[in-house]
Amino acid sequence: MSSDVRFTDFKSDKQPTWCPGCGDFGTMNGMMKALAETGNDPDNTFVVAGIGCSGKIGTYMHSYALHGVHGRALPVGIGVKLANPNLEVMVAGGDGDGYSIGAGHFVHAVRRNVDMSYVVMDNRIYGLTKGQASPTSRQDFETSTTPEGPQMPPVNPLALALASGATFIAQSFSSDAQRHAEIIQKAVEHDGFGFVNTYSPCVTFNDVDTYDYFRDSIVDLDEEDHDPHDREAAKQKILEGDKEYMGVIYQDDDSVPWEKREGIDQDMSDIPDGAPEDAMDLVREFY
């Protein structure tokens, strides 16, 4: 790990194919900045992504990375981290990837509290399939497959995380570059599962949850005198659901990552050339 890593070192030479103005540019820049600021470099970093616009991120960043199947990025990240706890693992996904097809994994990843970060680029729509309702779309949001709107309440990802025992819950806005990078950096630094829901507007298919909408409605928790260590206060803010908060909503400073509690501290790639020296003991157990 070198100390002179710049965030641009995490940039690949591939030009993003995101639409001009897409929120994902800002989200990714914040991720790269946070990784560099926390002293990581591309060779000790593993980025996992699922499917969708968000899934392309591994191509545009430079690090060890895997672009997997829809909704399953979190288990891949957990496997990477457990097999080599020395690696910095960051998982990126979209709202469909994380809260629809991957909702089950999200709940269990939160419960497991492995030391990694999870950034969800929430644009409240399916972009890559050209504009269908996502799990965070508004109830009356009209799309090609839901002409009357989904007619059910959107998933509240922060509440889902809280209910599952999250030790770090934050929300950010990709367009506020400074705050966004700061928030992700806190998630990376957190000892445990650092979850950040990032508003990352889709300029092509979502004309409701736009930059303007978020700029007008977002409330920075830093200006609200909110104590992120107060779980009750966090619960209230999350369940009220009437404001678009930005900042760290909840953080448990006593969090101990699962792998630490399980005593996993070795790089599992290091194995002997043959069976372990005492392997015949495994056989003798069957006497």
Binding site: Y64, L66, L82, H105, E262, A275
Partner: protein
């Protein structure tokens, strides 16, 4: 035929059938006798008929037979369930004092020993030991020295304290005494013991042990019958070597975690049964196209759907061979015996890493629940070799960078296998994706690159076909006109069947095949035989189909896989080239 004794204990699930059977099987094994066990069980926790059967002999035993010599019947139904296997002179031990067993009628010609199991158990310290009283009685019938049970009882009850162990030993002796005092039959059984030292284990345990020996350090799985024993065996043991077993939230998570661990450089495995393989199939394609080494174990049971979870079948062969959309290079290895479950697992890890492909390790319920004795040297750990393939470290990584310093994790090398840099390797950072990708692992739809990568992945299979020995095991008369071929757990029964067939005047050559893909070329063997019979535990003959396919004269093929449909003029040229044997360009005529 070996001089064998067939023993069983049967009752309701929850009656302690398994542990009682295991105590007896271990005692026999420790006394230098060969043992082969089998279980009849239902998919429920309590109630329902269940039995644990032990076949034992001084000679090796490879299968179950339709004969029961001694039966401990804890319920009346146990006798009914086993009527077909009982014979004249069979001994049935039961507790005639139990209200539910008072009306038991021992069939004509059989010997019923009513032993007050519960009462004697209470005398020894608790009714819960009734099964052990029965074991003691059975030892007397078989003339098996009861001291042999003591070590098994220590092992089973040792952590509950000395008093419990002593009470159990007493219970066994009360059962023995009761038979000595109350019955003066000559039971005809006189079990010999030997000085041989055997270990007793089942196929799932052998797979778990093989995995640990082969350096597997990460296992993620979701419980499912009959694969769970693999996970239970590894739990607590792999941790001693710095590894971890994770019970995932579902099979999708299990295989994705294992994929992540494998990308991080760990030897990783998941095990499941058919329904779990269904769920894992999407990620299986990702594993293959990202060229990640992974061992996926399928312990087959009866399907389709939930089928019969506690019954045997070899119905998943087609799925492991062909499952998944698109075309996926893979290996399919199927152990044919409990000891081969160990060795084929070791091989599976080496194939996975040498060729950077997923490997299906296909076992079945019969192997999973069969415990069998082996001389411990069958699992000689010094013989375990670990080949990690083309892993490059920081010193070697330079030679695999492109002109811009980027690591080529999918470099289309001549043998189809690319360099592998574990995360953390300086200058090795690279991505990979389930999308078609270039040599850097980055998404592409460029026709030439697509062709290059498809061919590169397929080339690994061709390389493996050349480099490895895809052999088979042969038994019986190698000159015989009748050839029997089987795969998986049928080997043991078939080996014994050879003896029966010989007695009836049939000479048979028997080939047991542990490799499904790649597999040995059996054309010459098939040509040389008059009759060829493929034995397998399924309805349609899935292995018979592939064997038959192998000996067919091949059709010529015109294939296109660059992502563009056939065009008429191009097609005309391709077909013409094929007919005239001219260089076929993009056409691939499968070589053989």
């Amino acid at each position: 035929m070996p001089e064998d004794l067939n023993w069983a204990i049967g009752g309701e699930a929850g009656d302690g059938i398994d542990s009682t059977g295991k105590i007896f099987a271990q005692a026999l094994s420790r006394a230098g006798r060969h043992v082969f066990t089998s279980k009849d069980f239902a998919s429920r926790i309590r109630g329902g008929y269940t039995a644990y059967k032990v076949r034992t002999s001084v000679d090796r035993v490879e299968s179950v037979v339709d004969r029961l010599d001694i039966l401990i019947a804890l319920t009346e139904r146990t006798i009914d369930e086993n009527m077909d296997e009982l014979h004249e002179g069979s001994v049935i031990i039961y507790d005639g004092e139990r209200s539910t067993m008072q009306d038991v009628e021992v069939p004509d010609g059989m010997i019923g020993l009513s032993v007050p199991l519960q009462r004697l158990a209470e005398d020894a310290g608790g009714a819960i030991m009734a099964n052990v009283v029965a074991l003691g009685a059975a030892c007397e019938v078989a003339q098996f020295p009861i001291e042999n049970l003591d070590e098994s009882l220590n092992k089973r009850f040792g952590d509950k304290g000395e008093a419990i162990v002593e009470n159990n030993k007493e219970a066994a002796r009360l059962g023995q005494q009761h038979v000595q005092e109350e019955y003066d039959h000559d039971f005809d059984y006189d079990i010999e013991t030997t000085d041989e030292d055997y270990v007793l284990l089942n196929g799932d345990e052998a797979i778990g042990m093989g995995a640990i020996a082969a350096g597997c350090r990460f296992y993620s799985g979701y419980p499912i019958t009959p694969a769970t024993d693999v996970m239970e065996y590894m739990t607590g043991r792999v941790e001693q070597y710095g590894g971890k077993v994770v019970q995932a939230e579902d099979e999708l998570s299990a295989i994705n975690m294992a994929l992540g661990a494998a990308r991080a450089g760990a030897r990783a495995m998941t095990a499941t049964s058919g329904p779990g393989i269904d769920l894992m199939t999407e990620t299986f394609g990702l594993v293959a196209t990202t060229e990640t080494p992974l061992v996926i174990c399928d312990v087959m049971r009866s399907g389709p759907s939930t089928g019969m979870p506690t019954k045997q079948e070899q119905g998943d062969l087609n799925m492991t061979l062909y499952g998944g959309h698109g075309e996926i290079p893979r290996f399919v290895v199927a152990p044919t015996s409990v000891s081969e479950c160990f060795w084929k697992t070791v091989e599976a890890f080496n194939y996975a890493e040498k060729y950077q492909t997923p490997v299906y390790l296909v076992s079945d319920l019969a192997l999973a629940v069969t415990e069998q004795t082996f001389p411990p040297e069958v699992f000689d750990m010094d013989e375990v070799e670990i080949d990690r393939g083309k892993v490059v470290d920081e010193d070697e990584v330079d030679s695999w960078l492109d002109e811009r310093g980027r690591f080529q994790a999918h470099f289309p090398s001549a043998d189809g296998v690319s360099p592998r840099a574990f995360p953390g390797t300086t200058d090795g950072a690279h991505m990979t994706t389930g999308l078609e990708h270039d040599e850097l692992g980055r998404r592409t739809e460029e026709e030439a690159v697509r062709l290059e990568q498809v061919e590169k992945r397929q080339r690994k299979v061709e390389t493996a076909k050349e480099q490895e020995e895809w052999d088979y095991r042969e038994f019986g008369d190698s000159e015989a006109d009748t050839l029997v071929i089987s795969w998986g757990s049928n080997e043991g029964a078939m080996r014994e069947a050879l003896g029966f067939l010989e007695e009836r005047g049939h000479d048979v050559r028997f080939i047991s095949v542990p490799y499904i893909f790649p597999r040995p070329d059996l054309s010459a063997e098939i040509e040389a035989a008059d009759d060829v019979i493929v034995v397998e535990c399924n309805a349609t003959g899935q292995f018979a189909d592939v064997i038959e396919h192998d000996v067919l004269e091949r059709v010529q093929r015109v294939n296109k896989y660059n992502g563009v449909r056939f065009k008429a003029d191009e097609l005309a040229t391709e077909i013409e080239n094929t007919l005239t044997g001219a260089d076929a360009g993009a056409t691939e005529v499968e070589a053989e």
